[in-house]
Structure formats: C-alpha cells, structure tokens
C-alpha cells in the first residue's frame, strides 16, 4: 500500500509542478461558463432598425414608436428608397428595415389588410428569425389593441407560463452542458494522455516490472484527474449558482453522486482510449473528435436533439453526455430524485462497466 501511495504521490507532483497546465485545468471551466454567460447571447439586444415608410401615416408612425419603445430595438434611421436601405445593409448599419406600403393606413380596414414588409439581414439566420418574430409580434399586438378599442373580435389572451426557468435565463442550459463537456474532456482526455505518455516514453515498461500491479499503475495515474474533475464540477456548479442564479432544487448529494458516476465513466473511456492508442497525439485527437464534438453537438447542450435529422438522433443515443445532461437538469432545475432519473443513471452505469470491461480485455491481450 505504501508503494502505491508513493506512486500516487509522484503522479500528483508531476501534475502540480506543471503550474501552467494546472492553471489552465482549473481555469477552463470557469472561463467557459463566464463566456457562455456574459458573451454568447442568443437573445437580441440593441437591434438597429431602419424605417422605410412610404405611407407617412399616423398608424405607421405609431407602430414605429412601439418598436422604438421596446428595450431591444432602436430605430436608427429613416430611408426614402430601397437603394438606401440596401446600402445600409451592406455596410451592416442596420439588421432590419421595416417597410410600410404607400397605402398602409387606408388598406388597414380592407380585406387584405395593410402591408408591412420586414427586410432582414439573414447572414445570421437565427438572429434574423428572432428579430422578425419579435417585430411581427409587436406589430400584431398593436393591431389587436387597435381592434380592441372597437368592439370587434374578442381576442383571447394567451398566457405563457414558463416552467423551471421563469426568466428564460440561458444559464440554465449552458451550466449543465459546460459541466458535462469539461468533465468529459478533462477526465478522459487528460488521463488517457497521461497513461499514453508513459507508454510513449517507455517508462511504462519500467513501471510494469516494478512490484506495482497493473491496476495500481492505472489508478495511480487517474486518481489526480478524478480529484481535479471533482473540483471542476464543484466550481462549475458554484459559479452557475452564485453568479448566474442556477438553482439546485434537488438533492445536492445525489447531484454529486451522479457527477462522480459521470467522472468515472469519462475515466473508463480515457483508460480505454489509452489502451488502444500508441502516441499522445492520437490520444488527443481521438478524445477531441470522438468525445468532445459529440458531447458538444449531439448531447442537447446547445442544439436541441429533436431538430436534428434522424440519423443524428440515433447517434445521440450513444453519447454519454446526453444522459448526464438529462440527469443534471432533472435534479437541479426540476427538483427530481432517483425515481425520475434511474433510467439514464442505469445507462451511464452500463456504459462505465462496458468501457472498463473492454479496457481489461485490451490490457490483457496487449501486454502479454
């Protein structure tokens, strides 16, 4: 046991002496969350809008005021021709130009209604879509109020109730996602690289002829990364909670237990990678492409899985992060307990055992 402790000690020294890598290891998760929180916004803000009003009527003026009054929009210019508007788009001065037809006011009460055209810079189609939708909604609301002043069609009020995330904070999405990404990346990638490095430099054989047995070697190598990952998981949850207000409605212990399970899964994947790969470079590339990209894209972290073509939806079934995200969101945001998450938990457990089993087989066949 003291031999193992000695070995463990050496592994820790290796890592902690490399201050630069250390700092990065602990800084990455925090930075990532902060960036997602403060920098990446899918909401609209300060949208610069131009008006091309051929009708010069009261109604169009009122609508323009409505738009301008909204916090997210700002009417910055009035144009008098399509050419002017196009020029403005090319110079990226506005993201939207609202065009009122010449007979707008008159046509309001006709069968077809008054025509409004929204010109949108769709080089960012997502933004264009959002802007268009919000603008349309604003205009529609104005019209329905107009109608309400008469006694016409009663318009029902639609009351949206936002469950789990009243203020539509984006943090609720990216904090769990970041945790999954970081844990998977750091644990799997770093531990696989660490083991492979010994193989590459030939010191692995030295270790193998020592009194340490194979499992002690492997666990000695990965334990520091387990600890680092646990610290990272805590810092992600802490920053998420304290800075961005992501709640923990469910049981914290359960949360940590699941995080630990995920870490172990990532670990077993890392060990498996190290058993099939010969160079550090390969370990890194496999970790990146087989682990990071699917975790980022196919787990539901940023892009909803239902939007994807069937093939990718099937692929997402084997992405561990997908289940982990379900679990985290259930515990933190919906206050769920084991009863709700036993299925994905089981899946994660099965995956862990699978990779551990494969690693054992690989070890046996390779090193003999």
């Amino acid at each position: 046991m003291t031999r193992f402790a000695g070995f463990l000690h050496k592994e820790f020294i290796h890592i902690f002496r490399d201050i630069r890598t250390m700092m990065i290891l602990f800084a990455i998760p925090v930075f990532q969350i902060l960036i997602f929180g403060y920098v990446i916004k899918n909401e609209i803000q300060d949208v610069k809008v131009g008006i091309l009003d051929f009708s010069r009527s009261n109604r169009s003026a009122e609508i323009t005021n409505r738009i301008n009054a909204s916090n997210d929009f700002e009417v910055v210019a009035r144009y008098y021709s399509y050419a002017e508007a196009e020029e403005a788009f090319r110079r990226s001065e506005v993201k939207e130009v609202i065009v009122f037809e010449a007979g707008f006011s008159k046509n309001l009460y006709t069968h077809n209604g008054g025509a409004v055209q929204l010109l949108l810079d769709a080089s960012d189609p997502n933004l264009a879509n959002l802007i268009g939708s919000y603008t349309t909604a604003t205009i529609m609301r104005y019209i329905s109020e107009l109608n309400h002043q008469g006694i016409s069609i009663p318009h029902p009020t639609v009351e949206p109730r936002m469950w789990y995330n009243e203020n539509l904070k984006s943090a609720y999405m990216f904090v769990p996602g970041t945790m999954a990404l970081i844990l998977m990346l750091i644990t799997a990638m770093m531990s696989s690289i660490s083991i492979v490095r010994e193989k590459e430099t030939g010191t692995m054989e030295v270790l193998l002829v020592s009194p340490l047995n194979r499992w002690q070697i492997v666990f000695g190598k990965v334990t520091p990364y387990i600890l680092i990952s646990v610290v990272n998981a805590c810092s992600v949850i802490a920053v998420g909670n304290l800075v961005f207000g992501v709640p923990i409605h469910g049981n914290i212990l359960l949360l940590f237990a699941e995080a630990l399970l995920f870490i172990l899964l990532a670990l077993s994947i890392g060990i498996f990678i190290s058993s099939v790969v010969k160079t550090q470079m390969m370990a890194m590339f496999i970790s990146m492409f087989v682990l990071m990209l699917p975790t980022l894209l196919l787990s539901g972290f940023i892009f909803p899985i239902e939007n994807m073509p069937k093939v990718l939806q099937w692929l997402s079934v084997i992405v561990p992060a997908k289940y982990f995200l379900e679990i985290i969101k259930m515990i933190m945001l919906k206050g769920g307990a084991m009863a709700e998450i036993w299925k994905p938990t089981l899946v994660l457990l099965a995956m862990t055992l699978f990779f551990l089993g494969m690693s054992i087989l690989k070890f046996k066949s390779r090193l003999e």
Binding site: R20, L25, I28, F31, I35, V39, I40, N42, E43, D46, R90, K95, T110, N112, G113, G114, Q117, L118, L119, S123, D124, P125, N126, L127, L130, S133, A137, I139, M140, I143, S144, N147, G150, I151, S152, P154, P156, V158, E159, R161, M162, W163, Y164, N165, N167, L168, M173, Q280, M281, M282, M284, F285, L297, L298, P304, E306, N307, L312, K334, G336
Partner: protein, 371 residues
C-alpha cells in the same frame, strides 16, 4: 535556397508518412462539415407539444388543427388529468402543454374575456421564447380563419395587417449556410495552430530539435520549413471543405476565390504564428495542447461562430479586436454570403495582417537555437 528545399522535403515526407495524421487531415473536413452542419440548428422543428382541449368546440378544433398542420410542432395526445401537465414537462415528453379551458368558444362568442394557458418548459430559454411566439401567431391565425367561415360578432371594422418578411443574403434562412463558414474556420484554425504546434513540440520532445540547433541552419529557414507545409495544407483543406459545402449543401459562393484565399492565407499565417509562439515557451505536448485549447476555446466562442458578434456586450466586442478568429469569421461570411470583395473586407484584412505580423515576429524572435 537549397537548404530550405531540403527541409521542406523532409517535412512533407514526415507528414505524409504519418499514418495517424493523414486521415485527420483529409477526413476531418468531411466529418466536420457533415455532422456539424446537420446538427447545428436552432430553428424550431417538430417540437413536441400537447393540447388539452376542455372546450371541445369548433373553435377549439380549429385551433388544434392549425397546430397540427404547423411544421414547428408535433402534436401529442392530450390527457385530462391534473398531473398531466407536470408530468409531460418533467419527463420531457412535451416541450409545452396548451390548455384550452371549458367554455372558451361561448365566451369568445359573447364577447367575454377568454384566455388560453400555455405551459412551456423554459429550461432552453430560446426555444421557449420561439414556442411562445409561434403559438401566439398560430392561435391568432386560427381565430382569423375561423371568423371568416363562421359568424363572430363583427360590429366594428377590423384592422388587419399582412406582415411578410424578406431575408437578405440568405433567403431560405438556411442555418447551414451560416454555420458552414464557422466550421471551416475551426478547421483551418486547427490545422494552422494545433498541428503546427504539435509538430514542433514533437521535435522538442524527441530531441531532434537539438540536432537542428547545433547545425548551421538558421532559425528562419527552420521555421519556414514548419510554416509552409501547414499553410499549404490549411488552404487545401479549406478548399476541400468549401467544395463539400457547395456540393452537399449548396453553400453559396458570392464572392471571388482570390479574395477568399488572400483572407485565408493571412489568417493561416496568424494561426501558425500562434502555434509556434506557444511552443516556444513549452516543453511538453501536454502544455502545448492545453494552452492552445484554452485560447482556442476562448477565441472561437467569442468570434461569433454560433451567434453574431454584435449581440455581445461591448466589452466583449472590444476584446474581439485582438481576436483573429473573429476577423476571419466575419470575412469569410461576408465573402461567401454577401459577395464582398477585397475592398469591403479591407478592415478585416488589415487587422488580421497586423495581428499576424506581430504574432509571427514575436514567435520567431522567441525561438532560440541557444538556450
């Protein structure tokens, strides 16, 4: 010079003999463009929702059928139990549950206030917002359609608006056209930065760099031998990626090939310079990898790959001034989608050029044959 040719010969030979690197260089573009582009969409499509119709009248049926017909939503059967809403949302069976209360039609027909309740899973705030907006629009449209067929009190003239949208530069709102340049950027960055750095640190770790340092080969010649191959490969891969994009996704190419390659060349120069700079200060592969990964992540996320850079807070936009990825991302989108020429992207070129020269200069200066 003969020496540079000797060096380049060796570099290319090593790169092509490296059986692990080869598939990465050529297959990477393929896989990246395929998977990523298909996966990356934030539009609303087939979102599962359930409608609980307590009213069961012709108006409510009209509403339900409009939702059913909409491509944004996929209707699930609604059950009439108290727990239903909570369970649907909790177990992610539906993203939203809409409740049409009993007596809806009669209240509407007698001019009394009526309301429809929408329960939306708002964890994904953006999707929730879109669901809310689209639902409102659908409900509005179904009522308008209904009022044309049946008789609803129309005592005063109704104002109506016909709002249409025209999307410039990307008429079909093809999100893939937005994402593809972003993905190509990542590709080019990885080749320029990562691969160069890994190659260099490998020489350091293996000790072969000592043999070079002890020879009369100047550091310029040596570094050119590192810069040129990855520069060429980076440009080649970009071409490959764009070709695939055009073939499989009808990626538009409104601008000129020449402009794009000028931009890409300058960008690659910068990325490679960064790779060399990081390696100058590192001793192990791990250090190099993590340092580059850290900055890569930061710069790429902030560059506007998923969301446009103008949506970011102002301090972030200031930081982007020294973010080469931001300039390239902007430039490549302008060239591909808007057809911008050299003049239009002159700002970006200038900034990239300045950054690149600076970075490369420091990188070369820091490379020491003697320690």
């Amino acid at each position: 010079m003969r020496i540079i040719i000797t060096i380049l010969q060796k570099e290319f030979r090593q790169i092509f003999r490296n059986r692990t690197m080869l598939p990465i260089i050529f297959i990477m573009p393929l896989i990246q463009t395929l998977v990523l582009v298909y996966a990356a969409t934030l539009e609303l499509k087939n979102a599962p929702i359930a409608i609980v119709d307590y009213d069961d009248t012709s108006i409510s049926h009209e509403i339900v059928s409009h939702f059913d017909a909409s491509p944004f939503f996929r209707l699930r059967a609604g059950a009439y139990s108290g727990q239903y809403v909570a369970d649907e949302l909790k177990y992610n069976r539906s993203k939203a549950v809409i409740i049409i209360p009993h007596g809806f039609q009669s209240r509407m027909q007698s001019g009394l206030p009526a309301s429809i309740q929408m329960n939306i899973n708002a964890i994904d705030g953006q999707t929730a917002g879109l669901i809310s907006i689209y639902s409102e629009q659908i409900i509005g449209r179904s009522l308008a359609a209904y009022s044309k067929i049946k008789d609803l009190p129309l005592s005063a003239p109704t104002a109506r608006v016909d709002v249409s949208a025209r999307y410039l530069y990307n008429e079909t709102l093809n999100f893939k056209h937005f994402m593809l340049p972003g993905i190509l950027t990542i590709l080019v960055t990885m080749i320029g930065c990562f691969l160069t750095a890994l190659n260099l640190i490998r020489e350091k770790e293996m000790g072969t760099i000592e043999q070079i340092n002890v020879s009369p080969v100047g550091k310029f010649q040596f570094l050119i031998g590192k810069i040129l191959p990855f520069w060429v490969i980076g440009l080649f891969d970009l071409a490959l990626g764009i070709g695939i994009g055009m073939w499989l996704f009808s990626l538009p190419f409104a601008g000129s090939v020449f402009t794009l390659f000028v931009l890409a060349s300058v960008y690659l120069f910068t990325a490679i310079g960064l790779g060399i700079l990081v390696t100058d200060f590192a001793r192990t592969t791990q250090q190099v990898m993590f340092t580059i990964f850290f900055f890569f992540l930061l710069f790429v996320l902030m560059s506007g790959i998923f969301t446009s850079a103008e949506s970011m807070p102002h301090w972030a936009q200031e930081v982007n001034r020294i973010n080469p990825v931001y300039y390239f991302m902007k430039g490549i989108r302008m060239i591909l989608l808007k057809g911008s020429g050299l003049g239009d992207i002159s700002n970006e070129l200038l900034s990239l050029g300045t950054l690149g020269t600076l970075v490369m200069a420091i990188a070369v200066w820091q490379y020491r044959k003697t320690s």
